[in-house]
């Protein structure tokens, strides 16, 4: 249907315009630094990790909840795999460990949210302390390092000698999740559970199962992020990247995910990740500007986007009620 295309596109188009404006601005004001392959490569590497977590947070928000524990699931997975690798473990098994642990943590979140009916925010707030705590206990509170080069080389290798592999992973996960969300019954059900859980139950959707699967997926994706950061930093730590939680929520909302659930797309989240990384790399090009300014800008952006979406939504519903 033509109408559907226009509707989906309007949000993506809006985001693409913001992205484009930003690129133009960066190219005009800082051409020498910005238009460099190395710069794009750095950006691509940096965004993959929190970009993945943002996808996790995003799907949980679509399902009507939120996942505040993604960062700590990633850290826990990184630490476990790191410790295993430190002891001379096999790379494939290390990957498997991270994925299984990530999925298990996610399923645990899902259990809290679905069966125990704890509000997602509080459930994942508690589980994030728990996961972080377990990570501290396991790592003894110190940094896990000394990862074999065979593993960390993943972060330094590039596809066609230009595209960093971690970015390829991000793109693949986004593509897979886009497919899952828009073209499978599981994705459709997730949107419906996020819109109205009670109605979903009456429609024969097994909400608890869908929620557990959603949080499991989020945990799994966080596990992948943990592996990427382990490879990139050659280390893992229980409190690494604590500011990412806020950033992931911001990305999801910026990408068009409705904080009340039921709406949002993966491509939207992916473009929002790009926008955020551009902004942050651009800021880095001003040595006088402290890194901490990013927090300020992100906070303003989050609230600005919320208000913008609010106004646009209002206009759209007004239009709809007039036409019907």
């Amino acid at each position: 249907m033509s109408n559907k295309k226009i509707k989906i596109d309007s949000n993506i188009v809006r985001l693409l315009i913001i992205l484009l404006v930003f690129i133009v601005l960066a190219c005009v004001t800082k051409p020498s630094q910005f238009i460099k392959i190395a710069n794009f490569q750095t950006m691509a590497k940096a965004l993959s990790e929190y970009g993945l977590m943002a996808v996790g947070v995003g799907i949980c928000m679509i399902s009507g909840g939120i996942d505040l524990s993604t960062v700590y699931i990633a850290n826990l997975c990184g630490i476990l795999s790191g410790l295993y690798l430190q002891g001379g473990g096999n790379n494939a098994v290390a990957v498997l460990i991270a994925l299984v642990v990530g999925a298990a943590c996610g399923a645990f979140n899902g259990f809290l949210v679905s069966y125990l009916k704890i509000p997602a925010m509080l459930a994942t707030l508690g589980s994030y302390q728990l996961f972080q705590g377990i990570a501290i206990v396991i790592s003894g509170g110190s940094t896990v390092s000394g990862i074999p080069a065979s593993f960390t080389s993943f972060a330094t290798t590039a596809l066609f000698s230009y595209i960093p592999l971690s970015f390829v992973v991000f793109v693949l996960v986004c593509a897979a999740m886009t497919f899952v969300m828009s073209k499978t019954k599981f994705g459709t059900r997730m949107y419906l559970v996020g819109t109205n859980e009670k109605a979903a139950r009456f429609a024969g959707i097994r909400c608890n199962k869908i929620l557990i699967q959603t949080y499991l997926l989020s945990g799994l994706i966080s596990g992948i992020a943990g592996l990427l950061s382990l490879a990139r930093l050659n280390s893992a730590k229980a409190d690494f990247g604590s500011s990412y939680t806020m950033q992931c929520i911001l990305i999801a909302v910026l990408g068009g995910v409705n904080p009340n659930g039921g709406f949002g797309t993966i491509p939207g989240i992916a473009i929002a990740v790009l926008i955020l990384q551009m902004m942050s790399s651009y800021l880095n090009m001003f040595p006088g500007v402290s890194n901490y300014y990013r927090n300020l800008i992100w906070g303003v952006a989050l609230i600005g986007v919320l208000i913008m979406n609010f106004i646009l939504d209002k206009r759209r519903t007004q239009k709809l009620s007039k036409t019907s």
Partner: protein, 340 residues
């Protein structure tokens, strides 16, 4: 059995109280160090700042929803208070002047939260996350705040103990700072406002049923806005108390306090969906959580396990309250049937 006692049995505060007693007895049995004068003073001391923040969390939950911005409002407004005190040459003025300056800025920041939440009806969690990030950016980016010594007036205030005890056996000493009185004062005021004024009852009414509150004649928007302004002020006081107790201003030490405080308040029986929550519960919840974070070592549990315990307590506490509220719903339908 009398009515009051029966009612007490239904309150989660009562059970938190029981857990605290049991926990204290276990620590005492294991280490013999719980009921010592210096440990008790230390417990009180470690409760001061969290229990001031707990007021913010309580007010926000009861009236609207979660507020996670109070640690950073505390950090930024105490920074401003300290810098302005020094800048205007007020270091010789009474300590309360610096507190008032901080409170003023805290209220302003709270007003920003309140404005956005009330005007656009966004989820308070997302908004306060956003403003936290903004305040953090202003504090560390724009002001490039670093560690600072306190101005003379606050320093003097910090070095005047309210109470000093020394354990005769172990030789360990502990002091209770003057900030304890601030906390007690705030709780007394909060008790009076929440229970004895119509505005205070309005906070509960708005959280219980927004539409009914509007119809009854409460100004719903003003109450919500007011709650966030007050929260800002309370956060500022909490932040300054933190600096006073540390005798330094440590800008990066504030972040992250929100999670534990929220957990404490929920444990104390505050309802996540609004309308229900008591000061008693706040204090008990905070006491329990600070006991867990500070006393594990006395039980011979390594400090690394702290977060695991906190996480477990939050999950168990929220699960119990979630299950209780479901059981409550069932009781309601049963009552309906009995009436039929």
């Amino acid at each position: 059995m009398n009515k009051t006692f029966k009612r007490m049995l239904k309150q989660s505060e009562f059970y938190v109280f029981l857990i605290i007693i049991v926990f204290a007895l276990i620590i005492e049995a294991k280490s013999g160090l719980f009921f010592t004068n210096n440990n008790l003073v230390d417990r009180l001391r470690s409760m001061i700042v969290p229990s001031i923040y707990a007021l913010c969390a309580l007010l926000a939950f009861v009236s609207t929803g979660p507020d996670v911005s109070f640690p950073l409002i505390g950090a930024l407004s105490s920074y401003l208070a300290i810098v302005i005190t020094e800048g205007l040459g007020l270091a010789g003025a009474p300590w309360i002047v610096s507190f008032l300056i901080g409170t003023f800025f805290g209220c302003l920041m709270g007003a920003l939260n309140g404005f956005i939440i009330v005007k656009y009806r966004f989820p308070s969690l997302i908004v306060t996350l956003g403003t936290s990030s903004i305040f953090n950016g202003i504090l560390l980016g724009a002001f490039e705040a670093g560690r600072m010594y306190l101005p003379e007036n606050l320093e003097n205030f910090a070095r005047t103990p309210l109470l000093t005890v020394k354990n005769a056996e172990t030789g360990l000493g502990s002091t209770l700072p003057m900030t304890f009185l601030i906390m007690v004062f705030l709780y007394i005021v909060a008790y009076f406002v929440l229970n004895k004024t119509m505005v205070g009852r309005g906070v509960y009414a708005v959280g219980g049923d927004e539409v009914s509150a509007e119809r009854a004649g409460f100004n719903v928007k003003a109450i919500r806005f007011g709650v966030f302004v007050v929260n800002g002020g309370l956060a500022a006081i909490g932040g300054l108390c933190y600096a006073v107790q540390a005798i330094r201003y440590l800008p990066t030490e504030y972040e992250g306090a929100e999670m534990e405080v929220i957990a404490a308040v929920i444990l104390g029986g505050t309802r996540m969906t609004g309308g229900v929550g008591t000061l008693k519960g706040c204090l008990l919840g905070t006491l329990l959580l600070t006991m867990v974070t500070n006393s594990l070592i006395m039980l011979g549990i390594p400090i690394e396990w702290q977060k695991v315990f906190i996480g477990a307590i939050i999950i168990i506490g929220t699960a119990v309250s979630a299950i209780q509220s479901h059981a409550g719903a069932k009781v309601k339908t049963r009552l309906k049937k009995e009436a039929a």
